[in-house]
């Protein structure tokens, strides 16, 4: 029973990382209508930016480094969209071509990380932490911060989408780009803001993944990308709230299953859930007609 509660605790942490990354990916997909296969590498690069600020040069506190590292990733995402992806998206009406470009971008970013930081495992500079007993759960202070940050970010995204003009414009564009434009919405600016938010969330997700796992490697984001896809598809592609729910479901299922089966199989659990969802409800568990 103890092992079960321990795994539930880890499940919350994984679900938190997954929720941040899945919502970031869904935001970007909702606006551009193509899947960014470089998203996992955005996460890794954001994590390495945090590493540079925390352990290599400025020796900032990990959470301050995370904020600046993630913002840097957000800015880089905007530039990559502006100068690389947007020209392709304008030229080709089929999103398939841009998806291929994101595959290429993924390989480029991965190799840039390898060439700068090498293949070895890196660690953030963080004080050693005592494990806290919270009810039946055993969690560190940093893991609690990761969970709190995820909850705050989900709440922030919800409030932005529902109550601000920017959020409504993003949902309008996701719903019908042509109508959004003729209603006076500057879709190019909305796309830029979305890439900034999505890139920043990738940076945060990559960094907290590094904190939660205790190390970072160049391919960590790529491996995690498949779990993110599982969460997004299970929740309902393009639905922000579906991505949140899918993240909780997949995160909990993978970690709790590790209490009962070989932990090496836990990613397979995510894909079993994905396959069952696609067979039973192909549009995702929490999807509604249309997006938003």
């Amino acid at each position: 029973m103890t092992l079960f509660w321990l795994s539930v605790g880890f499940g919350f942490v994984t679900a938190s990382v997954l929720a941040i990354s899945a919502v970031g990916l869904s935001l970007q997909f909702g606006i551009t209508n193509y899947i960014n296969f470089a998203y996992g590498d955005f996460m890794a690069l954001g994590a390495y930016f945090t590493y540079v600020l925390n352990a290599e040069f400025f020796h900032l506190n990990i959470w301050i480094a995370l904020v600046f590292g993630s913002l840097l990733m957000g800015i880089l995402a905007v530039l990559l969209n502006q100068f690389l992806l947007s020209p392709f998206a304008r030229r080709f009406s089929k999103s398939f071509y841009v998806m291929i470009v994101t595959f290429g971008l993924s390989l480029i970013i991965l190799n840039v990380i390898y060439s700068i930081w090498g293949p070895n495992v890196r660690n953030y500079t963080m004080p050693l932490e005592h494990v806290l007993h919270i009810g039946p759960f055993l969690l560190t202070r940093d893991q609690l911060i990761v969970m709190a940050a995820a909850v705050l970010m989900m709440l922030g995204v919800h409030l932005m989408l529902k109550t601000t003009r920017l959020g409504k414009s993003m949902r309008a564009m996701s719903d019908n780009t042509t109508l959004a434009m003729t209603s006076g919405i500057d879709t190019r600016r909305i796309t830029t803001v979305t890439w900034f938010l999505s890139g920043t969330m990738a940076g945060i997700a990559g960094s907290v993944l590094g904190i939660a796992e205790g190390n970072l490697t160049p391919a960590a984001g790529e491996l995690f990308l498949f779990v993110i896809f599982a969460a997004v598809i299970v929740g309902g592609v393009g639905s922000i709230y579906g991505a949140m729910a899918g993240a909780v479901l997949i995160g909990m299922a993978t970690e709790v299953s590790a209490a009962f089966i070989n932990p090496a199989w836990k990613l397979d659990v995510a894909f079993v859930i994905l396959i069952i969802t696609l067979l039973v409800r192909p549009t995702g568990l929490f999807s509604r007609p249309g997006k938003g």
Partner: protein
């Protein structure tokens, strides 16, 4: 529906098009549309099928770029501007087949319409939240008033994709009005609408004119044109055939030959 009786203003125009041309893969759809839309009036854009009306409307709203020619809103040359910039200049449009932001509620459909809002900027959301919130509150109050006027108040929290065809027509007009445009471009607002609603929509259009808005409407229903439009532009084969009052155009042989005869014959044989 009230009858119109104001004279057409001479020389004061809200919108001016000069020699607009557009072809699709060598086929000329618009071969020289030249017309002025008088300010504060209701102008009808009529013509037979294939006359290029929808193409002209798409060019005017920035959804299509013209191959040549010029377009002016007030004194500003807006030729081939992007559609969001044209909307921000004060020209809003509706569509022949109603389009709505289906995933948004009826109220939210109106809340995306006002232009130049501080809540559009991420910076303002974080650093000037009070201003953005105040604007959003004021917009919500105004949107609810407009929904009330158009009989959609009780549907405000419903997703707009769930509305009926007639309700969607009203929502499109309401969304256009919410943007406080100088010019409202209505693409067949009466198409597919029951006679009672035609009268209601006609009344709303007259009210908008009374508030000083310039209306341009593509319309096939000549009874409606007769009743509410001050000025008529006839397009045929992609060019402007004639402009003026419908009563005067009925005496124009070219117009009768190209369009009115066809419509009158169609209505008398029904």
């Amino acid at each position: 529906m009230a009858e119109r009786n104001e004279p057409v203003a001479e020389g004061v125009f809200a919108l001016r098009c000069q020699e607009l041309k557009k072809s699709f893969q060598g086929v000329m759809a618009v071969t020289g549309a030249t017309f002025d839309v008088p300010q504060g009036m209701i102008t009808a854009l009529i013509g037979p099928n294939g006359a290029g009306k929808t193409t002209v409307v798409n060019i005017l709203s920035g959804m299509m770029k013209s191959d040549s020619g010029h377009m002016q809103i007030g004194s500003t040359d807006v030729t081939n501007w992007e559609s969001h910039k044209i909307a921000r200049m004060g020209l809003m449009r509706t569509f022949q087949l109603s389009r709505e932001l289906g995933g948004l509620t009826v109220l939210e459909n109106l809340l995306v319409a006002p232009q130049h809002q501080s809540g559009e900027s991420l910076f303002n959301i974080f650093f000037r939240p009070g201003r953005a919130k105040r604007e959003e509150r004021e917009n919500t109050e105004r949107a609810l008033e407009i929904l009330n006027t158009y009989g959609l108040y009780d549907l405000r929290d419903k997703r707009s994709r769930e509305l009926s065809g007639g309700q969607k027509k009203l929502l499109e007009i309401a969304r256009g009005v919410m943007a406080s445009p100088k010019i409202l471009l209505l693409d067949e607002p009466m198409a597919g609408v029951n006679p009672a609603l035609i009268d209601r929509i006609g009344g709303y259009i007259m009210d908008l004119k009374a508030q000083g808005m310039t209306i341009v409407m593509v319309e096939h229903n000549l009874n409606v044109v007769e009743k509410i439009c001050d000025h008529v532009i006839v397009l045929a084969e992609g060019r402007t055939l004639a402009t003026g009052r419908l009563s005067d155009l009925r005496a124009n042989e070219e117009v009768v030959h190209a369009y009115l005869g066809e419509v009158i014959n169609a209505s008398t044989t029904r």
